[in-house]
Symmetry: C2
């Protein structure tokens, strides 16, 4: 894994580790929203929501634009493709690892069998 990805992964997975933030992302996938709207929907103070938005923005998952006194939040440029690839790769390794174990277990069983009947 390249060093470059490390910090980026840290930030995006950390951003995803909070239910409110995952909810915000889902919400923004449905429609853009202001801080006030999001704060209301997730029952939180404006300041609290602002912090979450900052985290998402830092991770490149959300982009915001302030027009007048309203800051509108939209989905950012990152669609978590690298993270998706990491997970897919992991699942593949996991499967390979467990298939290998299965194989070993099968071999042991074979041995038992051949030990059983000479």
């Amino acid at each position: 894994m390249v060093q470059y990805y490390q910090t980026s992964f840290d930030a995006s997975f950390a951003a995803l580790s909070d239910a409110t933030r995952r909810g915000v992302l889902e919400q923004l996938a449905y429609a853009d929203a202001s801080i006030t709207e999001l704060a209301a929907k997730f029952q939180m103070t404006l300041t609290g929501m602002k912090k979450h938005i900052s985290v998402l923005e830092q991770a490149g998952l959300v982009r915001t634009e302030k027009i007048g006194r309203v800051r509108t939040c939209k989905l950012g440029q990152r669609k978590l493709e690298q993270e998706l690839l990491w997970l897919e790769n992991y699942r593949q390794l996991w499967d390979a690892r467990f298939n290998e174990l299965d194989r070993v277990v099968q071999e042991l069983k074979q041995q038992e069998l051949s030990d059983g009947r000479p």
Copy 2:
């Protein structure tokens, strides 16, 4: 999203938000390892590595077994399938959202055109 998944997602994404822990998972996908081995590989005290392993264990990503004085760490039962599904779904929503924006932009262009020539 069902409430049940929330805490589980919190734990697994939080576990993945650290480069050392992702490294440990990759390592364990390759071969089981003791705490000492992992601590050496990631240049950290035993106690430090033990904490990471605890986090991974809590998240169900790693399973350990102590035989004699050696605790061996192996991949856990969770292969992050739900998390993978969440990311896939998100990417899909993201694409849909941006395609929609493209469509709106196209419509605006069309309008400009028809405004241009009566």
